[in-house]
Symmetry: C2
Subunit: 490 residues, 2 copies
């Protein structure tokens, strides 16, 4: 397994919705466009889809290279052949959130109602709205369910919202360095950052697209401020210490003397070249509004969740603290949700989720390898009743391209299995009835069984598929080594 491998060149696609998006506020976003990228190949069962959700200023370009770019997508350390989100196994989708400015409709786009830029006419969007827009994309791609949804920071909020808005569709969910609600400290930083933009004379109440002036100073200060919150004190000390920029002694003036000052200014300036100030206002507002609690209860709010969850915090993250993440874990556990928790041991602060590929590789790979039967099983139910005759069985086998068919009684409970080998036996013995030839000692599994356990069972008995049954022994689907090896064998 090599981490050096890259996806190579990738392209952004655009899904132009032919319907309006109804928003949480009741407002309508007219036929938005959603920018997205995909990596890897969708398998026949459509069971290998992983949706990646990006953070505040991210985009659809999560991995691989765009032509002419000097660096790859924002999560290339995690996504690619042989990487934790392995494009040899999974079909990865990442889309730009609504309200942003990286290809998906946002305030810097044209309002079809006016023919002019949206600016502040763009409707307020929430994390739920972002998730609804992603669901439209998933539907458009005819994907029935998501093997996994994963994201950090604002991406983690989308992950949590997915498990709540679409519990039937999300099998596994990985939430990193994020929260169940924005804290007053987070709101405070966002508010001051917005204030910095709004006070910039070039902001002009959001109506600056017609001019050649942008609220660059305000946006730059906002980004500088935000950037401090993404780093830990330790990592700043490690990275900059109190070293001076290009000099040995203080200049005793108001220029950028310390390296950390130059670094932040550079971050601020380059950000203004890649991000729209109004989008920054809208997306930070979406963060502020986010609070999934019911009457301040996390437990109550998280009850709909059926997905297996991995919650990952970062030891040195003071913006999205591990204490907050642990509160979510506690609430999930008290709801009997199958949840794993890892605290990433890192000095990088909040940004560690974009950096710590070693630890994330281990934790994410481990989590995904412990998937359950229901994460990958086929839900198609093909059975015969125990009164069926041999010919019926042979015809069904050919029609469905199956070598194993479960036999059920009149109560739909499993009583046996007939295989292609059994049918050969019927020809040899002139048997006419299924009951005469079927295997009565059938291995089965349940949808919450671990893939690891049933893989062991199948190897032990040299069988390639198992019927999945419910608590009443009724057949609800099947799982084969093909399903599994698609995703999990390493």
């Amino acid at each position: 397994m090599s981490y050096e491998k890259s996806l190579g060149t990738v392209d952004t696609h655009y899904f132009h919705m032919d319907e309006d998006l109804k928003l949480e506020t009741g407002d309508i976003l007219k036929k938005p466009t959603i920018a997205y990228e995909t990596y890897g190949v969708l398998n026949n069962e459509k069971s290998n889809v992983i949706l990646v959700c990006h953070a505040l200023t991210g985009d659809a370009h999560a991995a691989g290279w765009h032509n002419g770019d000097k660096k790859p997508g924002w999560w290339d350390i995690i996504i690619g052949p042989g990487k934790p989100l392995d494009t040899n196994r999974y079909f990865i989708i990442c889309s730009n959130v609504i309200g942003s400015c990286k290809g998906t409709t946002g305030p810097s786009d044209i309002n079809p109602d006016t023919g002019d830029y949206y600016g502040l006419d763009f409707p307020i969007v929430t994390i739920t709205d972002m998730v609804h827009a992603q669901k439209k994309l998933i539907d458009h791609l005819e994907i029935p369910y998501l093997y996994c949804v994963v994201g950090g920071s604002m991406g983690g909020m989308q992950v949590l919202q997915w498990t709540l808005s679409y519990p039937d569709i999300v099998r596994n969910a990985i939430m990193i360095a994020s929260g169940a609600y924005s804290t007053p400290q987070q709101i405070a930083f966002n508010a001051v950052e917005r204030r910095s933009i709004i006070e910039d004379v070039n902001w002009n109440k959001g109506d600056y697209y017609h001019t050649d002036k942008r609220p660059e100073q305000g946006l730059s200060v906002a980004r500088m401020m935000a950037h401090i919150t993404y780093l830990s004190n330790e990592s700043m000390y490690e990275k900059f210490g109190r070293r001076l920029q290009d000099k040995n002694t203080f200049s005793y003036d108001f220029s950028n003397e310390f390296q950390v000052e130059s670094y932040l200014e550079h971050q601020g300036v380059t950000f203004t070249q890649r991000f729209d100030a109004n989008s920054y206002l809208y997306l930070t507002k979406a963060l502020d509004y986010f609070d999934i609690r019911n009457n301040n209860s996390l437990e109550e709010a998280l009850k709909p969740i059926t997905a297996r969850m991995l919650i990952m915090s970062i030891s040195s993250d003071w913006l999205y603290t591990h204490e907050h993440m642990e509160d979510i874990v506690m609430a999930l556990r008290s709801n009997n949700v199958d949840v794993s928790y890892s605290r990433l041991n890192s000095e990088y602060g909040h940004d560690a989720f974009l950096i710590e590929n070693g630890q994330m590789n281990y934790i994410i790979s481990n989590f995904l390898s412990k998937a359950r039967v229901k994460d990958v099983m086929s839900h198609k139910v093909i059975t015969l009743t125990d009164g069926a005759d041999i010919k019926e069985a042979a015809e069904l086998m050919m029609t469905c391209n199956k070598t194993h068919i479960p036999i059920v009684d009149t109560n739909e409970k499993i009583v046996g299995l007939v295989t292609a080998w059994d049918l050969s036996k019927a020809i040899a013995t002139n048997a006419e009835n299924i009951e005469d030839i079927m295997t009565r000692n059938v291995y089965t599994c349940h949808e919450n069984d671990s893939i690891f356990d049933i893989t062991t069972k199948m190897k032990e008995h040299n069988i390639s598929g198992l019927p999945v049954i419910d608590e009443e022994d009724k057949v609800i689907g099947s799982i084969t080594t093909a399903h599994i090896s698609n995703l999990l064998d390493k």
Copy 2:
């Protein structure tokens, strides 16, 4: 001991220096004015002086009330009759730092060289310069030494600098929620705050005093940002939660929706009414430059310190962390400095030093009550040699108004004590020589003895004064119950 008591009305005084202040950079600040306040009464021995150093945006008005004000000085919880810095015992001085805008010369004042406002012509000042200016004030007030120097945040830096620049003058020092150097994170926040001011079009390169426009937006954003760093996440949650301001539902726009937003904006706006933007630039720069280490060694740098130290950190302070304060304590201990350390248990974050009067009262009172002999002793040495005659002793006693005179040998070592009572005995017995009447069994103490211990000793033996001797038994001063009760009896 009542904490309800206030100093009542107080006034600010102004010390107009008649000499220039030489600055650390080599620049000169022409005859600055220093604004200061004093509370309590200077005792005859001038041994009860406590200098209070203020934080970034503080001023000389530390306690009591100015006419017409709605709230008292910034540390009224600590300073006053019966409070930890007890104005019934101590003579408290607090002066505004140079570079500020609260009465002491700063960039908003007139440059005597040009007759115009200083603006950016004001020289860069450092924490050391602030301390040197305070020393000029202390000299002007004819105060020989400081019983204690105390301050939090930037005030704590001044405290540390005092112990290093004037080790002979500082007896006790209390440093709260501060640091031995500014960390890159602190520099980063300061840099972004300055950037916000500098990018304000009304800042005009610091030359705005002639106009009616001030860089209020930039200064307001800077203050909002700084204010976040003074509070802990917990205290913000306690204070604001996610409650909305004057409404029950989201308005879904860019107004101040959350209470924390309104609070911060209010803090920003009121700050612009009381503080000069250029002073903010200069004082944050002074913070940035502060680093007392020698070649990155704290231990090396702290070697000059002779003061007894109290280091106080705040558990929830993430800007000036307790880890950093503990590094200072470790370095002091390895230098055998007499240092006490307390971590204030508070959820208020950095601002706790302006709030937690209960804990601070306990810790500070306890520290001050454990003073050493040298903190309050008289350094006047009055002795007689063992060859002296009775008449000489009687005359000396009358001249110096002393009831006890130590008798030393030719090596200046103490060999006895003669008291007024001994002289009466001489008259009764017609003795002529000191040796015939002096008490040979003399109680003494050393300058590092604890006041508490020697007070116990004096009470036990019913004596009102002790000679202070050095390691070679030479007399170096004296201490009396008057010295002690002045300061410490409670």
